[in-house]
Amino acid sequence: MHVIVATDGSQASLVGARQFKWIADSREITDVTIVAVVSPYAAVPFANELGPQRNPGITELNFRQEANAAVEIVAAEFDGWGAEIHRQVRSGSPAQEIIRAAEDLDADLISMASGSRGLSRTILLGSTASRVQHSAPCPVLVCRPTPHSQRALG
């Protein structure tokens, strides 16, 4: 079974990856591909909030590197889990690219997080997760942050 774990560099996506590990049976999963999407037209194409914050020098901020760093941190969660880990940073509209990744890799499951809790976040629904659910070629696991998982994050 090949699973795509998507990350947008947010804490929620890391919690989501852990939730997925907790839910899934590692014996069934042969491959995990960590996917991050850089969206070039967005105000911030990719913001990595995971791991130690690197301080780019003046004019050295590089959104691809940010995405690579986020993918690495999520991938590290799966160290020693058994499945073979792949990494992919794609470019384009996040929902569309996650779906394309699933198609390209013939994935059996997409695991992703849907925002976090709170009023403003409920109004501004996590549209990437909704759009992926709507047209994914495979089952989608949308990880919701729970009070428990947020505490675990520290």
Partner: protein, 504 residues
């Protein structure tokens, strides 16, 4: 199914941290922007800004020959575009002008200054576009232009709306971008068609195209054109935003020169045709200080003017909104980047948890733009007793400020391009024509000098905007965290990775 991964192994040079041996080492990036998309991005971004907003002001400055101002403006901007194309093929990264200046001069102070200039230029541009939007809006709903506060409130609402759209982050769509560009072009095609009809029907004598608003000899004609150029130049700005997507462009060294120069030439041809058409269709006196709605109002198109006014008004508002959206994106990205680089307070790097947009940077940018509009309105309302032509024109003033900042940046970018000749060159590097670049530097500086001599009051606004940047920098230096060396331990908010377990 995994041949893809193996085939892309060369990319693993970009790995950030070493991974476990059993982990396939690759983090590929499929670039997504094609030359065609980049072309539409440039055309859409450039077209929306100026001609819809500024045509009346340029016409007033030059006279019937105001197409020449657009022609000269386009030429200078396109030469600058050549320098950008060369630099982008060398350094396909998002930071644009600041990056090139940093590479060429290695001076953090100069780089900071250029970044602040760019930020200020974007803020002033958004203000000017918002005020330009209001002109079309008032033209549609019949609001008098001298209702200073009513129009300002509409402009503020417009800025708020654009900011909200960017907060939600729905500007990422490539398709939407192409559709917007088509809408923008369609409006200008209508004007050109009207121009053709006007020419055939002989509405205005074609001799108007060589008429200048100046008495005296050729010297004053040149000055009249120069006055127009300093305004028309605003119409060509926005192409530098293309550098923002350099990182994501497929084969940048091939795509960039073609898309950037092609896009600017397209915009240039459209501008010159539109200004010729406008001059042929309506008396210059009617156009002066007004919008392209005057051309529609002349009612020489097949479709009745009452219908066309609404259609064209909507097209113009969409065009202006599109360019404003892109400008706000660029503005918030600059602020976000500076915050990440520890130049301004880290607060500006805050990202909305769900929408992934830099909300603090967006809101701050909107606040500054609103402040500019309110200051403009205050000055304007205190000038009520002055004759109309001496009153502050907020569109004009903010466009001038944008142009002052950008001309300076553009000239420096061309210098950086020449200075970086011979470094970082590969076989793929695009090489701009050197004599043209020197003409470009002179052109940018001439227009800059004229603009400042003609409108020295703009310098006060320029200084005001620069002060905002300086204050942010000082706040960061006195109260902010000291920059950490790369690889140092994480910030307090960073996640420490606990061993994998089922304890979630």
């Amino acid at each position: 199914m995994f041949s893809l991964a193996v085939a892309r192994l060369p990319y693993c040079g970009e790995m950030v941290t070493p991974a476990e041996p059993h982990v396939v080492q690759h983090a590929e990036l499929k670039r997504s922007i094609t030359a065609k998309q980049l072309y539409f991005y440039v055309v859409g971004d450039v077209l929306g800004s100026g001609i819809y907003v500024l045509v009346g002001l340029v016409a007033a400055a030059v006279g019937g020959a105001f197409w020449m101002a657009f022609l000269v403006g386009v030429s200078i901007a396109t030469i600058t575009g050549l320098a950008y194309a060369e630099l982008v093929t060398k350094y396909p990264q998002a930071a644009g002008a600041s990056l090139y200046i940093n590479k060429a001069f290695r001076s953090p102070v100069l780089t900071f200054f250029i970044t602040i200039c760019m930020l200020s230029a974007n803020m002033a541009a958004v203000g000017s576009l918002a005020a330009g939007f209001v002109r079309y809006f008032s033209g549609l709903v019949g609001l008098p232009a001298d209702a200073v506060w009513a129009t300002t409130i509409i402009a503020l609402v417009f800025v708020a709306l654009i900011t909200t759209i960017n907060l939600i982050g729905i500007t990422e769509s490539v398709v939407a971008n192409v559709v917007m560009t088509f809408i923008e072009v369609s409006g200008l095609i209508i004007i050109v068609l009207i121009g053709v009809i006007a020419l055939v029907e002989g509405v205005n004598d074609p001799a108007v195209l060589l008429q200048f608003n100046a008495e005296g000899g050729a010297g004053s004609s040149v000055l009249a054109v120069l006055a127009g150029v300093s305004l028309a130049f605003f119409a060509m700005t926005g192409f530098e935003n293309a550098a923002n997507v350099a990182e994501e462009t497929i084969e940048p060294s091939r795509a960039f020169p073609r898309a950037l120069i092609g896009g600017m030439l397209t915009a240039g041809v459209v501008y010159v045709l539109v200004s010729i058409s406008a001059a042929l269709a309506v008396p210059i006196g009617d156009l002066a200080g007004k919008t392209l709605l005057e051309v529609i109002r002349a009612d020489i198109f097949f479709v009745p003017a009452t219908v066309m006014l609404v259609v064209f008004g909507l097209i113009a508002m969409i065009a202006i909104s599109n360019t404003t959206l892109v400008t706000v994106v660029a503005q918030s990205r600059i602020l976000f980047g500076m915050a990440r680089e520890n130049v301004v307070p880290a607060l500006f790097a805050k990202i909305h948890p769900t929408r992934r947009s830099p909300y603090v940077a967006l809101l701050f940018g909107a606040a500054i733009v609103c402040a500019l509009l309110v200051i403009g309105a205050t000055i304007r309302s205190s000038q009520a007793e002055l004759p109309a032509e001496q009153q502050l024109d907020i569109v004009d003033r903010l466009a001038t400020i944008t142009v002052v900042f950008l001309l300076f940046i553009y000239a420096l970018v061309i210098v950086a391009c020449l200075k970086l000749r011979g470094t970082d060159e590969t076989v793929d590097t695009y090489r701009a024509n050197t004599p043209l670049l020197i003409i470009g530097i002179l052109g940018n500086l001439t227009v800059l000098a004229y603009t400042l001599i003609d409108d020295p009051a703009a310098l006060l606004w320029v200084a005001g905007l620069l002060t905002v940047g300086l204050v942010l920098y000082l706040v960061q230096n006195f109260f902010g965290k000291k920059p950490r060396s790369p690889g140092a331990e994480g910030s307090p908010g960073a996640v420490t990775l606990p061993p994998a377990s089922k304890e979630l």
